[in-house]
Amino acid sequence: MAENALLNVENLTVRFAVKRGSSWGRKSYLYAVDDISFQIKRGETLAIVGESGSGKSTTALAVARLVPAHSGKVELDGEDFLALEDEALRQARSKIQFIFQDPYSSLNPRLRAEAIVREPLDSLKSVPEADRQAIVDRLFKAVGLRKEQQRLFPHQFSGGQRQRIGIARALVTQPQLVICDEPVSALDVAVQAQILNLLRELQSEFGLTYLFISHDLGVVQHMCDSIAVMYMGKIVEHADRLSLFNNPLHPYTAALLSAVPSVDKARREATKRILIPGDPPDPINPPKGCRFANRCPVAQAQCRDAEPPLRDLKGGHRVACHLVGDDAVSPL
């Protein structure tokens, strides 16, 4: 295992009980996150991408212990985060902070901006009260807000400014890991750039480590050092940025990439649209083989029979597909 990994997630599984009418009260489970493992190095950014229902947001929430994990391990800086309870957990929460998607529902409308940013400090009481205002002042400046705006209430800010407040709140406890859950997808395109630039500036200024959840491959490509692609609760491919975008190996990754509309004429002409018809299978009764087999353009008999494991190819490129050999050539 890499020595410099800040976050080490092993075999993480999150399941939800679902009631199904016909099962006489017997519980079925939806495995939203099904046995996934990944690491993030200190100071780097890992993106988890996927479409709705892929389990990417649930993964983020489970890492931050905002939804309970069913099994697995989440180690932050060597400490098992899932084993913490009560007061220890409450204090440890300062080490993992969250930036939310919706800048409108993520700020308490009854608090002034300064109180929102200060709230984690007030809850954790790790910093003496006298020092808290100075920290808030510094972060307001760092995220590009003026001091007099601290007195305002959330509804007096624009979407982009609100997201800046959310970012300041996430950084106020000096967390080791910041989870960004679709941080710009609710914002207007012109404002997205401001927030993305800010996130990168803050990363280099404070040496932050990001777990970046997004469905937007363009954004991910710009923000992240490595990318994990999820499909129905599983990681299907995990590689560094250039390998993944220049040589996508899993047919799902390739389809996902080919579906992104581009302004680059060269790319439009070079990309062949890979059609993946239909919808994902029922997540409560997933097929026994590869979960993508029913939509995969190159699926074969073995894909429907056995689930492909996530294998390590050369250079840390991991892929879960029977049809990818050790030579790392796309089956398409």
Binding site: R93, S106, L107, N108, R110, R112, E119, S123, L124, E148
Partner: protein
């Protein structure tokens, strides 16, 4: 930018709390403002009336059934020759106190039950909501009559009786709001930054759940006054204090001979409850962010 160009400075906005914006909205609602003014007048009358108009409402000061305006009695006298102005002023105190106190009891029980049910979910919610439903299906007037009849007709007991039968709607509203708000990201954010359950419940979720609860409790004051009038009309009242319902109840046999003895306190109840309803409606519009945009 090569040359110096003046770009309009971003205007400095003053901090406006949700409360001050709601007040701004409320002020523009004429009906609600009228209601508020009337209500304030009634409250002032209830506070300074009895000391200023020093007539004991129980004392027989004049001949019975003296019509309003005759012999110096502005609102006349009742069947025992008691001054109706004194009864009206004294009754205002009792009606308002019972209204407010009963609404307070209602909100205290309702919010506690609703908050616990909406926050903890699971079996806590199941049990509390079944209890709520139990109280909701009880015939309210009958049940409160039983309480008052069993434990005695004192003001605290009447207040308690009204509160105990009226809290279920408040509990349901509180629970619904908690269920909605607990899913919002700012609650998750507080949780992610180490807030304790007690803090989440009462200083994060509850303040945001307040608007509909405030509206409901404002209307509750009005219905508690009506409730008290109903009880005292039936004779279930503290015989040592005068209240509007009691005046109506004790004069009801003479409604044909001296209709003013019943209509004047009736009118007082009507005006007070109407004023409270107008204020409640105004609060509803002012606190509802969806209506605020118009």
């Amino acid at each position: 930018m090569s040359e110096q160009v003046k770009v309009p400075e971003e205007e400095v906005v003053e901090a406006r709390s949700p409360f001050s914006e709601a007040w701004e909205m409320f002020r523009r609602n004429h009906a609600a403002m009228a209601g508020l003014v009337v209500l304030i007048l009634i409250v002032i009358a209830a506070i300074i009336g009895p000391p200023l108009y020093a007539v004991d409402p129980f004392e027989m000061v004049w001949a019975p059934f003296s019509p309003p305006g005759v012999d110096g009695f502005i609102l006349g006298t009742d069947y025992l020759g008691r001054d109706l102005v004194a009864a009206l002023l004294g009754g205002a105190r009792v009606s308002l106190i019972i209204g407010l106190a009963a609404a307070f009891v209602t909100v205290a029980i309702g919010v506690t039950v609703g908050a616990l049910a909406g926050f903890y979910l699971g079996w806590v919610e199941e049990v509390l909501m079944r209890i709520t439903e139990f109280f909701q299906v009880l015939p309210t007037l009958l049940f409160s009559m039983v309480i008052v009849a069993l434990f005695g007709a004192s003001l605290p007991m009447i207040t308690f009786a009204i509160g105990v039968v009226s809290w279920p709607p408040v509990a349901r509203i509180t629970r619904a709001e908690f269920l909605r708000i607990r899913e919002l990201e700012y609650v998750t954010a507080s949780r992610a930054s180490g807030a304790k359950n007690f803090k989440l419940m009462f200083s994060v979720i509850l303040p945001n759940a307040l608007p509909p609860i405030i509206v409901q409790s404002a209307l509750m004051v009005g219905s508690a006054i009506l409730f008290e009038a109903g009880l005292s009309f039936l004779g279930l009242t503290d015989p040592n204090v005068v209240s509007w319902g009691q005046v109506i109840g004790s004069n009801r046999q003479y409604i044909l001979d001296a209709p003013y003895t019943v209509t004047i306190p009736g009118l007082a109840i009507f005006v007070t409850v109407l004023a409270i309803s107008l204020v409640g409606d105004g609060l509803n519009d002012a606190l509802n962010p969806k209506l605020r945009q118009r």
